[in-house]
Amino acid sequence: MTAETLHNIKLLAPEVCLTFFLCFLFVVDGLFPKTRTNKFSMITTVVACIAGILLTCKVGKTPEAYFGGLVVNDGFTKFFRYFFFFTAAVSSYVAFGSKEIETRSRMEFSLLLLCTTIGMSIMAAASNLLVLYMGIEMVSIISFVMAGFKRDNLKSNEASFKYLVFGGVASGFMIYGFSLMYGLTGSLNYPQMAAYLTAAQGNFGLVFWLALVLIYGGLAYKISAFPMHFWAPDVYEGAPTPIATFFSVGPKAAGFAALLRMLLTVFAVKTAEGNWQMINGISLTHVIAVISALTMVVGNLSAIGQTNVKRILAYSSIAHVGYMLMGLVTLDRSGLTAILFYLIAYCAMNLGAFWVVGVVANLRGREDLDAFRGLGWSMPVLGICMGIFIFSLTGIPMFSGFIGKFLIFGSIIKSGGYLWLVLLGVMNSVVSLYYYIKILKSMWLDRPESPESLKLSTYHAVGLVGLAIPTVVLGLYFTPILEFAERTLSNLL
């Protein structure tokens, strides 16, 4: 093994660490059958994620492209590695407390989750269309299987099948776009593609726009933006709730990472002030603004009539993607930093909201609004945490969601244009209040169907409070995270 390969593998230490834990789980599963059904695999997953986080701190300080330009290790990768490992650890914790994942499938769930995490890290670090496609397919295909994890449940099968068909078509579009882009620019690596596009001076063939549209189709499917958002409600509703928890945060953020990296490295150049500017000849600002607006509106308006809480949260996650896309309209530092901050805030509050839905589903067996009746009074911790998450999702001041929205709207206002977009965003937040409040109303203002005394297990309580606290704290004292996001951006290769 040459020294260069060794150096490359050292830079990959977090993923290699996860792979080792994956193989360790395989071996343990074969040797000790009891670990298949007890909490061992969850503990291993959490340990693996913590080890990954620690390794990410130590790995490679300088941004560099390694493995021949296939993968990049910079601040961006670091940020998303922390994100994905945290999400995976929390999802694993959630899943093992839920009845929807059968005990005998626990080991497989952990294995699939670890592999998805590796795939998501690859998506965030990819600097080559081939590696990006590989990462996307790793995450997608395992997600198809995870969505259908409840084998006897028809809704789960339907969710998996819809995800599969939709994902397959979107991947087809995307790889067609990749092949056109490869034919156009002559290279799969991002820097070479950018060099070709800059040299072309706006003189691309019409092929380029076709390729762009197709690639957007694939990436939009991953982040569930308009017009490829149709799978999200059905899949989130049918999939087991812990898995829907994971879906709403993990693959979505991975898609965002891929989208951001591709946009910023291939189609834009860094200007002197640290902002980005689209390459001469590509002006996508209007398009991004319109897409963002449409995603927001579609997400929010569709959520109004829903009675199934998981569908409400699914549509709300679509709407949040719309808000996040607003940050891409003006590719300046403040907008992009806002997106990264919003992702962090979104992670905590969405994980928490889905977790609460999972607890209620375990308790009551259903996930519609009526299942929540009176739970605020029976289980106060649950009610308060859900209140925190909902308020944060809506964007009420003093919670992290508000700060996120504030930063994004602020960046657009600062740039001077697209005030209509900001206005639309604010109006959408107001509209979203309606359907979010329906959940809280059901929890706190409705009488429970049968008076019962319920207790929230410590297992869940610890986690929920653990997620609620950052949601509140980030709403008040967000400067360190903001600075972290800024540092990430300045470190982008």
Partner: protein
């Protein structure tokens, strides 16, 4: 002569691919898929890449389509009996629109950049060298992925547990 062969293979592939979509019997669709892969393999041969042609037949026709055919036969899918003329119409119209938009967008007639590398004479050596040096990372990750996929398939297709207090599977 090469252009003639190219046109012949391409038309054959397209005809077979349409056979996949248009035939009412799923087994006929699978058979047309085999034919279309043969056409693709012929196109690879025309380009000089004998390795890729053989790998295409070995893997696609020899393994993947077998899987398809297995599933189709075991599921005993019925022949699609309904006559849905409007779906066919939509399909044909959208295919035509797509084709013409490709021509308009000059995808099909655009000159491909000529910095295409020559196909080396010893393809096996070149490909394996690339696979183990430049593309080592995707190669290894894909093998891990395949392993986890086996686990995933096992997770969804495992037999149901017998619930009379027997040994847990």
């Amino acid at each position: 002569m090469r252009e003639g062969l190219f046109i012949a293979f391409s038309l054959f592939t397209i005809a077979a691919a349409s056979g996949v979509v248009l035939s009412k019997n799923p087994v006929y669709s699978a058979f047309s898929l085999i034919l279309s892969f043969f056409g693709l393999s012929g196109l690879y041969l025309l380009w000089g890449s004998t390795f890729m042609a053989m790998i295409q037949i070995l893997i696609y026709t020899g393994a993947i389509v077998v899987l398809f055919v297995f599933v189709v036969m075991l599921l005993n899918l019925q022949v699609i009996r309904e006559n849905s003329p409007n779906l066919l119409f939509v399909g044909v119209v959208s295919a035509t629109v797509w084709f013409f938009s490709l021509i308009i967008l000059r995808v099909l007639t655009r000159a491909i950049p000529t910095n295409v590398t020559e196909i080396p004479t010893n393809q096996l050596r070149t490909i394996s060298k690339l696979l183990f040096t430049r593309y080592l990372w995707p190669f290894e990750v894909l093998s891990l992925f395949l392993l986890v996929m086996i686990v995933a398939i096992f997770a969804i297709t495992r037999a149901q547990e017998i619930s009379h207090g027997g040994e847990k599977v």
